[in-house]
Subunit: 367 residues, 4 copies
Amino acid sequence: MSGNTLGKLFTVTSFGESHGPAIGCVVDGCPPGMALAEADVQQELDRRRPGTSRHVTQRQEADRVEILSGVFEGRTTGAPIALLIRNTDQRSKDYGNIVETFRPGHADYTYWQKYGIRDHRGGGRSSARLTAPLVAAGAVAKKWLREQLGTEVRAYMRALGEIDIPFEDWAAVQQNPFFAPNAGIVPRLEAYMDDLRRSGDSIGARIDVVASGVPAGWGEPLFDRIDADLAHALMGINAVKGVEIGAGFDSVRQRGSEHGDELTPAGFVGNHAGGVLGGITTGQDITASIAIKPTSSIRVARRSIDKQGNAADVETFGRHDPCVGIRATPIAEAAVALVLIDHALRHRAQCGDVRTDTPRIAARAPD
Amino acid sequence: MSGNTLGKLFTVTSFGESHGPAIGCVVDGCPPGMALAEADVQQELDRRRPGTSRHVTQRQEADRVEILSGVFEGRTTGAPIALLIRNTDQRSKDYGNIVETFRPGHADYTYWQKYGIRDHRGGGRSSARLTAPLVAAGAVAKKWLREQLGTEVRAYMRALGEIDIPFEDWAAVQQNPFFAPNAGIVPRLEAYMDDLRRSGDSIGARIDVVASGVPAGWGEPLFDRIDADLAHALMGINAVKGVEIGAGFDSVRQRGSEHGDELTPAGFVGNHAGGVLGGITTGQDITASIAIKPTSSIRVARRSIDKQGNAADVETFGRHDPCVGIRATPIAEAAVALVLIDHALRHRAQCGDVRTDTPRIAARAPD
Amino acid sequence: MSGNTLGKLFTVTSFGESHGPAIGCVVDGCPPGMALAEADVQQELDRRRPGTSRHVTQRQEADRVEILSGVFEGRTTGAPIALLIRNTDQRSKDYGNIVETFRPGHADYTYWQKYGIRDHRGGGRSSARLTAPLVAAGAVAKKWLREQLGTEVRAYMRALGEIDIPFEDWAAVQQNPFFAPNAGIVPRLEAYMDDLRRSGDSIGARIDVVASGVPAGWGEPLFDRIDADLAHALMGINAVKGVEIGAGFDSVRQRGSEHGDELTPAGFVGNHAGGVLGGITTGQDITASIAIKPTSSIRVARRSIDKQGNAADVETFGRHDPCVGIRATPIAEAAVALVLIDHALRHRAQCGDVRTDTPRIAARAPD
Amino acid sequence: MSGNTLGKLFTVTSFGESHGPAIGCVVDGCPPGMALAEADVQQELDRRRPGTSRHVTQRQEADRVEILSGVFEGRTTGAPIALLIRNTDQRSKDYGNIVETFRPGHADYTYWQKYGIRDHRGGGRSSARLTAPLVAAGAVAKKWLREQLGTEVRAYMRALGEIDIPFEDWAAVQQNPFFAPNAGIVPRLEAYMDDLRRSGDSIGARIDVVASGVPAGWGEPLFDRIDADLAHALMGINAVKGVEIGAGFDSVRQRGSEHGDELTPAGFVGNHAGGVLGGITTGQDITASIAIKPTSSIRVARRSIDKQGNAADVETFGRHDPCVGIRATPIAEAAVALVLIDHALRHRAQCGDVRTDTPRIAARAPD
């Protein structure tokens, strides 16, 4: 099928452009009978919403979601759930100077090369604004996973540029605009971002995602391994340049006797695997980490070319996130949740209902 | 569809187990009219074949491929190409001790949890032997890409455990059993592996892949971005725990003014993007890097459990690669080539024939 | 993937219920650069619209379409095209009496059995109203086929109940509410429908579809033959119970020497094949015919049961088409056009750009 | 994905040509734990096998199947099941005269137009021989449906040319080479075929399929309705030109009060629906009927053209079925079984395990 659908059994088909009339998606394959209200979706969208602190884009979008279908008397019916978000705060004239040129590091150039036509306003289809429908769909997935199986997907910022952020506790994550799991480091992050913003430049970030309460046995080897599908969904997020599962690139230097997580009757004694062996979940936490590149829309002047191939300097105006990684935390959660629910459904297609009560063997990882 | 098919338009459907009668795949969607002989496929299989040096598994498999269909009078017909490889050197009794237990770090455990039945012989379906059909299919993809578009996919070993391998030249890669792009470092790699083998342990590796001669414009945003599909295919290779495109995790610490590759009338001045912007190819080289974990089948005794959940020590006999990363180089090339041909076909479906002669603008990256 | 998407490369993902806030679809895979305005879609929707004659449902819906995405400055961009139609004339209370019971011959029963929850209002998801998004998507497909390749898809009513309608000319089709290709028979059809309406009963119909200007070579054997995909799309329309290609069921009694269309240097001498041989188009007109069952929502009282399995008589109120076949003509055209564009794109993926100028051999069918 | 795969969760990927080294398929998605032996598959292949009576092709093929993967110690493992059938009795020289010409009514012409290359030997990929892998895959599906759910799929010949065959009993079907459900009519069928064979001509047939023991609730509206998927699979069989579900084309002349099957506490009182309402199974028998055209390979001389477009008479030698409909009975069963198992798995993905014991309401159709 075409390229704007994610998933096989629980599918999200996305549409919209940054400055078009609306963005949204159609979620197909949601099991029937789940309570679902717009507030359930809104709550996740609000976490990703622009304009909520001085460290993110100042575009003011309420990102108000409307459920157009698939819910009847407050419950999902099994029919597709269409989610609509109207755009309200476009300032397309800010983008006048990039009609004819290409921002370095931006999809401006490749969309033009591919299609020969490009909605340049606010990045059009390639805008990070298009992560909102993903978050909306992810809210549906998260709710089902939580309610049916007790599966939780959570993420946090692990590094902002060169600042590593030591994990302290989950509670902190929701209490600062960086999704940092460490209250003490927040002033330093704020100062760092204030400096960066003044310089007109941007910076990368690293986000870690943890899914807990995942039953053993999800994943479809060979090719649709759950780690492969996680990599697909995470690398598919705007600006992501790297994905790790479990020990990730540290595995390169590990010996087998160190990397391979031993098992005891009490469960696994480590989780270098990141909860996945052979493409199938182990029942431990799934852990993934992503690298997010710095925003390409920056005020610093840069060399580029125009559509005729002539040299042209580009400075980007408009309103932009100096670190797209900041708002990437709820997006990464959504991407992971969407892969998990898809595999939950695929698993029960082939192997029958997921049994949360009786694992095939006694050993389960401690939380 | 089910999980053992890779690709959407150029698809590979894999089958087989390590110690079953045969392994193989069906390649569907290959354009008609391409010259194809068994030797074309064999040549790539021979690069991945076991038993070719003392640093890899000593299992002796000729990996002789038979083309069962889709080729007539030496040319592809547009019909599915079935590729069959008989298994000949199984020693299933070597695996008697893992019928009831699970190797730490191995898919033994998860296959059991998922299916409740497991072909334990040689790892069954989860064996790295199943990368052979991928390589066979990749040979078809590579040939088409090379002949139609001049696209080449090459890989090399960038690190073996803690030894980083500086890139010197492509010529070296085919002249040592490690696929190291550096002849001078080979004695050190050999000594390292000899020590490791004696210890009964295993080690990880890092492989870099470069695709050159890729036209601008391939990739299907939003979700089937070409980087997302590359991540899917690469993370889907046995033992891979991390994937990077371009600058990868280094992007985290980069500023936008450093990361974003400037454009001049002579082309891009850098390639932090790894040849992909917004999920679409730029026309520069695509660069990817993967982390491969150490083999989980090691002679060192380890703690595990049996099917009843009781404690059980596991030592692995049988013949194994002490570094699965060594033979991963042709596998990574195959995975990338399969994604590229799939997107080449997807691109011409939506946008018409790929034009290698007339880019939409003058700017193209130098090689 | 999930069940509400039609097509593989040119996909339509449908959403909505008869009495929900809106219905619509996302069209993905449309080639970039085609001029497209809401009027292009509206024109097709108006042909299917309810309330336009006394012979169809009296529900008043403007069926006003809004293009939410995928079009920039009047041209398609290659991004998904979301099409939204608000529902405006719901009278859900008319359906109060079927909350607890099931209309004989209606999906009321099966939706309940499948999902355990059912939006009963106006038939919910199973309403024929959901053919509107199909027609909207079909308008995009028809425009591309016409402009790029000169392919036209047209349909007409061939039988209304026991009245066979001899084909006279295409011009008549658009000039009567029955899409009858025969002006002279219209008074008889009107009288027939008036009688039927008074009786409170309903009737079936047969619709013929003809696609002309189809290049030879479309279709993906073995399973995604173009005739198989046409059968899928046509049988997927509400109320369709039979599909024929070319000679259809008459083939049963034909001898090979009669059925097989001979070829001469001037082209085929007949078209029993209906333009398809071996699942691939011949270059002749594609001809298909569908049987549409009588509407199940009728005023005549019928035996049924309630949710508890108790006997319950059902009379249907609300506003219904006494012959759903009347409005099925534009719907059948849309379904066929969607299959054709999907295969046009699939063909050029595997075999390169469609050549309308130079067939491989001289022989082409006369129109 | 590409065109040689049938199904979404239980998939069959077919390969092979009539005179190549082998034909076969990969079955992916079969649930684990089912007992499966080659004999289970062979038994169905033997029903379709050529050369078993004087009324079918005299090609002698043992059609001996080999299971290459997916089965361990006699049970399915959840991994792909590859099924291989070697070709043994090719007489490719019989086809020398059609290297340069096209048999009227045959795919010779369209394969050439599509691909520009064609394996002409025995019809190559378009040969009815390629229904053997479908039957092999269908054997796996039928076994699972029968053992898990008590679902049976059976077919019979309903008409041979102009001879209608009244249904008498299922027992007769397996006792004559025509799959006629009526022992008394067999001598007439034999005489008819003997005459036909002498004439060098061929004839069509009609086959009816009945699936019993199908739970209510299977089918994925809107587009992947179970009737739509049945139409796709059945129209995808070689030579099929028409498909009906339930009352089929008779629906055209029926009134709603006649067609709509009433419900009583004891179940449905009729089955014009053919077991499907709104694209979802009702729990009644699924009934379908297909029209099979006469074989295009006949000895009678016919007008055609050669590759240069010049006039050329064609007489077909080689060994052919004078009525491909005769062997179509097990093929139609396989196609229906494959759709059913696919929807069984899709249903339990979205709605959980199929409950055969507790329907949502008391009413069920009598067997």
